[in-house]
Symmetry: C2
Subunit: 207 residues, 2 copies
DNA sequence: AATTGTGAATTGATTCACAGCT
DNA sequence: AGCTGTGAATCAATTCACAATT
């Protein structure tokens, strides 16, 4: 359910828009006013033509001969990504990885707030700055706070059962760190981050 | 530098092979002897034709009418991925995320061992099971132990400087969690895991 | 009857090349 | 002169459809 899908922006383009956004943020912080597709593409790790094509899917933002206005383009991308308000997120599974993500904080700057963690043994996490509740309290919390996004960092064997709870309580998007494929209804989005597979893939190229 | 690139297996195929491998491992543990492309594809989250095409890039492993022998296919994939010995890996940047990865342990099962961490302030990590050294000791360590792979989890601003050290000391592959594009020579592989971008991407689909 | 292996067809993404502004 | 915007061309990945095999 993409908002404003006048011409359905491709999935990969959306990914790259997030990256452009971050690069533009940095430029804006440094007081840069204008940037060429060449320079911005380099910062984002893509080719200039690709950047221009990506932007072309939803408008025209540059001036020929000059480049793009940093603030203006940033605002336009933000609008497309629909990322104005702070988005609350819950995290399920406060093991090693989950605990780190709770403390990580890198998300807040990007507009996300992990508002609570849930674990089978919440009492082990009294000291964390973000509250950790028992998994029994998950359904109530989701409904009460109108949460739409979840991060999943439980063992593979436990993942699907929790996903079922999540989707039956209105979660629409899941960032999944559990090394297993989740079954979800078509309208729920899942992004998988599989650390072992990333490493394994790299190792293929190490002779 | 892919080993055995008789017909250069596409990058995305390599990714999926790692996933198939894990699914097959599970089947093998459960004593399953034979699996159809249909069943395996489902477990891996892809279409049966894609699985078959992927396997076709490097051989024939099934019997028509029957399916694939679990152990045999597993062995063949392992051979292609070249994943026999335990691969030593260093981790640079022992902040929240880095510290979690050190303790994570999920890699060992997949054939990787994080042998050491490096940080500007190593003394904060006396309690970790894996030793954490000062960053000054990084070059010596890399050469002495013949390390080929690194995980990078430092702030964006520090990333490129460390990458330069890594590549000038023979590192061939980097798993990068720092939210920035790294400049590396062509023969060095980088996989980026950008948690903020993953979340941001998901949030686009939350109406 | 079931299921693989694969050429052909299709779909999608990227890059080229250049016209059109400023 | 420089740089964007974009149709056309290319390249890559996926899916189809079916012959081949057990």
């Amino acid at each position: 359910m993409p908002p404003l899908d006048l011409q359905a922006i491709p999935r990969k383009t959306i990914y790259r828009l997030s990256i452009y956004q971050r690069c533009l943020q940095r430029l804006a912080e440094n007081g840069v006013e204008t940037v060429s597709s060449q320079a911005l593409a380099k910062a984002a790790g893509v080719k200039p033509t690709q950047l221009r094509k990506d932007l072309a899917t939803f408008g025209q933002f540059g001036t020929r001969g000059l480049g793009y206005p940093v603030e203006g383009l940033l605002a336009s991308i933000r609008e497309v990504l629909g990322h104005t308000r702070l988005q609350p997120v819950v995290l399920v599974g406060v093991g090693n990885l989950g605990a780190a993500l709770l403390r990580y904080g890198g998300f807040n700057k990007e507009g996300f707030e992990i508002v609570a963690g849930f674990d089978l043994f919440p009492e082990q996490h009294r000291t964390d700055p973000i509250p950790v509740y028992s998994q029994d309290e998950l359904p109530g919390f989701l409904l009460e706070h109108g949460i739409k996004m979840a991060i999943l960092a439980v063992p593979a064997a436990a993942a699907q059962a929790i996903v079922n709870v999540l989707v039956s309580h209105d979660i629409q998007a899941i960032l999944n760190f559990s090394p297993t494929i989740l079954e979800v209804p078509g309208e729920v989005m899942v992004n998988n981050v599989d650390l072992a597979v990333e490493l394994e893939n790299l190792s293929y190229f190490v002779r």
